[in-house]
Subunit: 169 residues, 2 copies
Amino acid sequence: MPTLKLVLDGLAEAIAADETAAAASFDARATLVGVTEVDVTTGHHTFKVDEPEALGGTDLAANPVQLVLAALGACQAITYKVWAAKLGIAIDGIEARVEGDIDLRGFFGIDESIRPGFTGIRLFVTLRGPESPERYAELIDAVDVHCPVLDVVANPVPIEREVKIADPS
Amino acid sequence: MPTLKLVLDGLAEAIAADETAAAASFDARATLVGVTEVDVTTGHHTFKVDEPEALGGTDLAANPVQLVLAALGACQAITYKVWAAKLGIAIDGIEARVEGDIDLRGFFGIDESIRPGFTGIRLFVTLRGPESPERYAELIDAVDVHCPVLDVVANPVPIEREVKIADPS
């Protein structure tokens, strides 16, 4: 198997030669199949999403806001790995723990001045490895500005939405 | 099993009686266990996150940005279901499809003016049911402002982050 650095260098070369190679598109489809149980397909992966019983669901899987925290933690871990490879910084272990607070009065419309999403997120990353603090500081700076999900959560993303009412059948 | 509406009404009453009942906290832990393979734990649910081979991974599971789209689609589906129950609007089917664009020059630092996250997201919701267009319009308006993950993606979330360098072992 090629090393991660070889794959990344190859991709960077392809993008430099033809910038349309940089355009990536992802999608997901979510279908409600139970009380709050949702079947999701993204690429060729499928999984379930649900709510805990306290929120009216059957707790079959993580709920949507837990998935966002999971995505952020995983994206941090992978971005540390990728940028360590790019910068030639050795790293032996990466773990990211993410905590997020929600005030449910927002979701339930009890107080319309409260946002329904996270009011704050705390991210705790632990790196393990043999390099100097200076080299890890360089890595941390790189990850802070290049982690896709950190960017999506910290900054606004333009969203277009369209709702279609299908004929009852 | 109590109906969704009963659970939601009970929760709303509990929150009205004691607003500390509205404070919810979620967390997730992500540990890199392979090239880009990540083990995630959130609540008592565990799953994997990985990158496709084109991005240097082993494609064992959805990647972090696909998880974000999945979370958004699932959150839309559940928020439609919850708010339909709250508003007394009948609904027989809910599906959300989400597409997101990324310019990989951002993630790889090839062009620092390009963001690493989604440059745009398109959300297509299909509802099926017997109610009038006016009632579904009322539901759509409610979901637009109360969907937690839509809020998280469309608007900035304050994030604190802390990185610890552990001793090599």
